[in-house]
């Protein structure tokens, strides 16, 4: 075998053992990642192609015999569907309120529990707890908290002398949804900010203090710029998560009996993902619903891209730790 190789080409013969080793390594690599690769093909690639084909058809989820190719009809329909427009508007409004407020709160909480104070681990746990509580339980927490008669919120407002019989889930459902979202997401973002804060060397702050900077100036000119990659990360993940909110509005629907897969939330909480979900699983419009979901994916991608473009101006990747 070495003889044949020598006849063909001398240098190849010299690298052959390496190359054989490289091949063996490549085979090993592909064998090791094969569970993911097979899973990716069967559970992601094929479903994605199916989802795209579905969005171009009138598929109803049941009968393949009646499936027809309808071209871009589903996509065009989305642009004239008043429910889709209403839902998109509500979703963007929720995002515009929840994301900035969440970011500010998460950063504030991280700064608070990063101080040299007692019981920090207790405080961290309290802020983190809502993040790990299952969504069904979290919805109950807020339903009972804002209950018109049995809730604490109206009781507290009553002590303060305000109206005491507010039916929050009926009159202000989006306020409750926003509170649930902000409360539930705070701990996750706080931990990421905390990790970022602890990655900033203390010398930077000390040096600025020696130069006469006060705490506010240190936060504004040292901490915030060095945290900007973390702020950017939390901003992008926050936006992606908020645009896809689906089960919370359904679980917060007023009335606590007989919640079903087809529960329709109040109009104010009728979000985009809810609309797509109901079109698919209740109205059996798999084709139209899939088109709605692809449009959502498009919005998510477009927003992420825009953020990445603007990030060059305000995200500071200056220092290597």
């Amino acid at each position: 075998m070495t003889g044949a190789a020598r006849v063909l080409d001398r240098p190849v013969a010299r690298v052959a053992p390496w190359r054989r080793r490289g091949l063996r390594r490549a085979v090993t690599f592909y064998l090791l990642i094969s569970p993911w690769l097979i899973g990716f093909v069967l559970l992601a690639a094929i479903p994605l192609v199916m989802a795209f084909l579905m969005s171009l058809s009138n598929y109803d989820g049941l009968n393949l015999e009646y499936v027809q190719f309808v071209g871009l009809e589903n996509y065009l329909r989305a642009f004239t569907d008043p429910d889709a427009q209403h839902a998109l508007g509500r979703t963007l409004l929720l995002m515009a309120v929840v994301v900035p407020f969440s970011l500010a709160l998460q950063l504030a909480l991280a700064l608070l529990v990063n101080q040299r104070i007692r019981f920090t681990s207790l405080f961290r746990t309290i802020f983190y707890l809502p993040y790990v509580i299952p969504v069904v339980a979290a919805a109950w927490v807020w339903k009972i908290f804002v209950d018109p008669t049995g809730g604490l919120l109206n009781a507290l407002l009553g002590v303060a002398g305000a109206a005491v019989n507010v039916r929050w889930l009926v009159e202000y459902p989006t306020v409750v949804l926003a509170l649930l979202t902000i409360w539930g997401a705070a701990g996750g973002g706080m931990v990421v900010f905390l990790a970022g804060l602890q990655g900033i060397p203390a010398e930077y702050r000390e040096a600025a203090m020696i130069d006469g900077a006060n705490r506010l100036q240190v936060t504004r000119h040292i901490t915030l710029p060095l945290l900007s990659p973390v702020i950017f990360f939390n901003l992008v993940t926050g936006i992606i998560a908020t645009l896809q909110i689906l089960v919370q509005p359904m679980l917060l629907a007023p009335g606590i009996l007989g919640l079903s897969p087809g529960t329709v939330p109040p109009r104010d909480n009728y979000l985009y993902a809810v609309h797509a979900y109901l079109e698919i699983f209740v109205k059996q419009l798999f084709g139209y619903g899939s088109a709605l979901l692809w449009l959502l994916f498009g919005v998510v991608l477009a927003l992420t891209l825009v953020l990445f473009k603007t990030s060059r101006r305000w995200v500071f990747y200056g220092i290597e730790p």
Binding site: F40, V135, A276
Partner: protein, 276 residues
């Protein structure tokens, strides 16, 4: 004197905001516990229970076959977590330690799948599962687990990339194959990553409402689905107090689990720190 006052204001400034925030975060949770201890007649009429009604907890366990659905949730969550963590660790080890053409691009693909909205993938998966007769079984979760989780794969790749390469070389000289290296060197030293990802994968299934409500029904379903509707008395009136007791029972094991696992994670970091 002015100095003393300034330290006092300093302490107030440091503790007041964090106390206010912690109270605001904990109040809604505390209210669930308070409500769970009330008589149903006290709900909406008195702020605090006259005497704690532990009977609500007994009712929460008996009005619904709580233990059966808790077992369903436990079986589903732990089998998913166990499989997905093992698979993701193996795949993460492959990405971290084995070179091959296309590795970089495949890893980008792992990350790209994180960007796709869940429902976009789930709708066609739902059609496939229905056609294969896998609805109302736990097979969808097993299949998802066998494919690994992009999030956990990413975590394990980052974690294993920090391991010293000399370990592999030494083991390879001794004639160990990649699987043996994975099981005897990488896995035993991955305590913190294993614990953290197992907890999050477990939590995801334990807390998930959407997939079980669409894929399972009746006796097969999970506690999350059962907990989404209120408990009722025989006449069909809602029992908010018993429902809150059920919610506490639904959440409590998670908190206990977290507390127990927390120690394990710390220990894992300590041991790997010593060994590294």
């Amino acid at each position: 004197m002015s100095r003393r006052r300034s330290t006092a204001t300093d302490a107030t400034l440091r503790y007041l905001p964090v106390l206010v925030a912690a109270t605001a975060f904990a109040l809604p949770l505390a209210w669930v516990v308070v409500t769970s201890l009330k008589k149903q007649s006290e709900f909406g009429s008195s702020l605090l229970p006259a005497a704690p009604q532990l009977a609500n907890y007994q009712l929460a366990l008996s009005l619904l076959d709580f233990m059966k659905f808790a077992t369903n949730s436990l079986v589903l969550s732990s089998s998913y977590a166990l499989i997905v963590v093992m698979v993701s660790a193996l795949v993460g080890y492959g990405f971290a330690r084995h070179r091959a053409p296309g590795r970089g691009r495949l890893f980008m693909l792992v990350l790209a799948t994180l960007m796709v909205p869940n429902l976009v993938l789930f709708v066609p998966q739902f059609v496939i599962f229905a056609k294969l007769g896998l609805t109302n079984t736990y097979w969808p979760w097993i299949l998802w687990a066998l494919g690994g989780s992009p999030f956990a794969i990413f975590l394990f790749r980052q974690f294993f990339a920090t391991f010293p390469r000399e370990l592999d070389d030494a083991a390879e000289v001794d004639g160990a194959g990649p699987l043996r290296i994975f099981f005897q060197i990488y896995l035993p030293n991955a305590g913190p990553a294993l614990a953290a990802s197992a907890i999050f994968m477990f939590l995801w299934v334990w807390g998930d409402y959407l997939y079980p409500i669409l894929l399972l029904n009746g006796d097969n379903t999970t506690l999350a689905v059962k907990m989404s509707s209120a408990y009722v008395d025989p006449r069909g009136n809602p029992l908010q107090t018993v429902t809150m007791a059920g919610v506490v029972l639904y959440v409590l094991p998670l908190i206990a689990f977290f507390a127990a696992a927390n120690r394990f994670i710390v220990r894992g970091i300590v041991t790997t720190g010593l060994k590294g």
